[in-house]
Amino acid sequence: MRIAVVLAFLFAAACARYEFAIDAPASPASVVTREQLHAGFARVDITPPPGGGLMGYATEGKKSRGHRMRLYARSLVLEDERGERIALVLADLGSVSALVHRLAARRTARAGIGADRLILMASHTHSAPGHYYATPAYDEQASRVQGFDSAHAVFVAERIARSVLAASASLRPARAAWGFSNVWGLTRVRDYAMTERNPNRFVHPSAAGVDRFADPRYRYIDPQLSMLRVDARNASGEWEPAGSFITFAIHGTLNPGANELIDGDVHSIIARELERTIGREATEPGELPQTIHLFANGAQGDITAAVSDSTRCPAPTYAHPFVATGPRRPHVGADSMPRAFPPYPACLTLSRLEAVRVGRALAQAAVALHGSLDAAIAHDSAQHLRIARVYDVVDVAADGQTLCSPHAGPNTIPGPEGSHTRLFNIGFLRSVLGMDTLPKPPADSDDDNCQGVKPDLGMFEFLVGGRKPYPLQLQVSVVRIGNVTIGTVPVEPTTNAGWLMRRAMAGSDTADILRRYLIVSLTNGYAQYVTTEAEYSAQMYEGASTLYGPGTANALARRLSAMSGRLPPPGGASPPATVPSISGIYRSNREIVPRASNTPLLVTTRSIDTCFRGDTLVATWTDERPGDLVPAGGPIVRIDRQRGTGFDIVTWDDDPFLEVWYLGVKRRGPAWQARYAPAAPVRGTYRAVLLERDGFPETAGTWLEWGTGPCN
């Protein structure tokens, strides 16, 4: 009996879940009137300490062990002559949660930006920790580290709010202009067999009649790079570039799942290149660049970077060369006992180089587009762009017609082409899930089943996701800036689903839809993918991850269309918004991302040892523990090159080729290591410098000729 009571208690504890309401205020009525458009930009570091799971690769998402390119919340606040405000925020995160959005909105409401005017977008890097969803599926299945960490949600939201408030406080007279260009060859469709199902596939006009892409995966994309260039008046009254808001469809998955470092992926590289090229770049750690650029995602559900397959570190395939056998042991075969896969140095290095190649190429295209807007932004109308917004919450449960009760199909488990999980390598599981026969043959829709052809995981979904694992309320916005209308959705629409939504927003206004109607994905929450009905029928990864059934794209398109119809005429006031409660659910709330300790280890002095491992400069030092040392607090380490009696600052820990690793507590205390391995090292004498921080003075390592002083 006692055992039964204990077991019942343990079972109840395992199944326990906590549900709470997430509220946020709507924006106050606009009262300010101005003579012209105003704009403010800000950038706030949101890089957490290592320890959280890098979300996005599910079973392949590693626990973070350090950082490379820092994560930022980049904000653009715009205010037009009527006082209509909108805050566009691009966070270097895998996706954002409604919880983080609303926690941030509570803090930004005092600046006139409530939940209805805060457009919080994610870059979709798969190298940033999650744990802030209050949605069990994403807190518990997005990486190998499971759980909800409310303190981390507050940390992220607070820093995002800080970014918005800083942008709001720096509003200056501004002018803005939209521009568009097309970038081919850097992205392609993944899981193309799904895209091929669309009876009238989206074909961009600039691809029509062009025979340069024999491979259809490179042809059926949306290559459009859309940019809102913003210039602002400086202190001396002159116009200067302030930054831009850009949309382009590309998955932030150039780092493979084997990566263990927090990193902004390709979007960080693009933003860094733009900030370096346009205006005055930051030359010292902690300095802000003159211009700030938000590189947001378009309809990228089926779009990945066109990179070498060699960058995709394969998931473990479990093999071993010799297994002891014999008649007295179970006959398991010579190579079927699972053994750990070795580390992946080559594919990780290649993926880094490819990320830099793709990032720089996209940045060059954006710089060219920025330059092409010189004439347009000088036009008087650029100072009088008008803003309007409509905000709504789609209640899936209340929909009752086209949106189904959410569940994921079995083919969510193996992951998409190019990012398969280790579960894909289990033949038995592949057979059971039907992965060997993908895509599914077209099937008659089952009228009795809202989810159509999607198989039900049944009890297994309960086991992996728990009850109500997915969001039931989706925050959706339609924002008009100038003559461009943007639909923001908390999902990852495919190219064709995005095109469906853009056409729906346009309604009867069919002129130049591509340039006047945009979709921004991964905004104000997260609810996985949205495919078209035809793509859904293939039940590949993206279709299986379309939670609300085959009618999801149509339902969202109809909602966006209705919202677009509620936009005021140019210059009119946006309709008032109500912000209903959203429910958050978690099963356990625990410390995952390290927090400041009550008993910090006393590290009174820091010394740094420098050496070379081949062409990698390695600097090791003792410092505070993660949590006491928070990378978002400021740059940690800098690399200098000697020049005469002085030196040049080469880079600091916000660089695609400089890694900072936490090695754990060693004999002398918590050990950290910086590894600098540039793609093309410049010969000279180098040193690593620990920057001044938390009462620690700046500490420099010894100067070493590049490549000399090998590590022990």
Partner: protein, 279 residues
């Protein structure tokens, strides 16, 4: 004792024979602790046993040829109903020697070998603890549709005392759960069924009638948790077996009255060696 020396010398001589350039050697050892020793549907002892083994392997191109020794040691004095050591103070109840060759043909792992059983204190008509020796040749095939899945069948022919056949079929699935550094934790469910066609132990009749025909069938399920890295493998498993035994008289012994038997075991093994890269 002289048999040990003789077999050791034979093994060393075999290892000294010149080998093809691409051949490599492997070696392994393991030890398993079992809560009870059940073999082919029969409870041989209800007491916990320790079962160590060691093997060496020659790995010429495409083949694995192994020879090894396996023992069942009983640290607790066996009871009257325990077949392995009746009338003794325990100790080593059984020692088996074997040699086996296996190769892979596409998705099939094929093996054949010889095993010699030295049941050192087996009850016989001569009296408790007199012991018996016998030998089998066997061949088996394992179909591996995926690297982690297998379905096998094996046929054993006792050419010596019994002159009978025992057949088993089995299937397993490794389900990797967690990878931590070089370690992978795996859940492995396995099902095995066996049937005697002339081979089941009957303590009440003497050899050659010591065994009876078509006496026993069983089905067992095992769930094991493995923790593997390149050389080490740890496991804990639980097994449940149901047997149908209408013909042998073993079923009257205390340890074998129940048709349903359960036991747990835990073990650690270590293996070194790798296949030639040219394979």
């Amino acid at each position: 004792m002289h048999k040990f020396v003789w077999r050791a010398l034979l093994t060393i001589a075999w290892l000294m024979v010149p080998q093809p350039a691409d051949a490599q050697f492997g070696a392994g050892a393991d030890v398993v602790v079992r809560s009870r020793y059940v073999w082919r549907g029969i409870t041989r002892t209800t007491k916990p046993v320790v079962q160590p083994s060691a093997l060496v392997a020659w790995l010429p191109r495409g083949w694995t040829i192994t020879t090894g020794v396996w023992a069942s040691v009983e640290p607790i004095r066996p009871g009257a109903a325990d077949l392995t050591g009746a009338g003794t103070d325990g100790g080593t109840g059984e020692v088996d020697y074997w040699i086996e060759a296996h190769t892979r043909v596409r998705r099939f792992d094929v093996r054949a070998g010889h095993i010699r059983y030295d049941l050192r204190h087996e009850q016989t008509v001569v009296g408790p603890g007199s012991g018996i020796e016998t030998g089998e040749v066997y061949t088996g095939v394992l179909f591996l549709p995926g690297r982690l899945t297998g379905f096998g069948a094996t046929l054993y022919w006792d050419y010596d005392v019994v002159d009978g056949v025992f057949a088993t079929v089995d299937g397993f699935q490794h389900v990797p759960l967690v990878q931590a550094g070089n370690w992978i934790i795996t859940l492995t469910p396995r099902i095995e069924a066996g049937v005697s066609m002339g081979q089941a132990i009957d303590p009440e009749t003497g050899a050659p009638g010591y065994f009876v025909d078509n006496g026993l069938a069983y089905v067992s399920g095992t769930t094991a948790i493995f923790a593997n890295e390149q050389r080490w493998s740890l496991h804990v498993s639980t097994s449940l077996q149901y047997n149908h035994d209408e013909a042998t008289r073993v079923n009257r012994l205390d340890g074998n009255k129940r048709k349903t038997k359960a036991w747990i075991d835990a073990g650690v093994s270590y293996a070194i060696g790798s296949r030639p890269r040219t394979r």
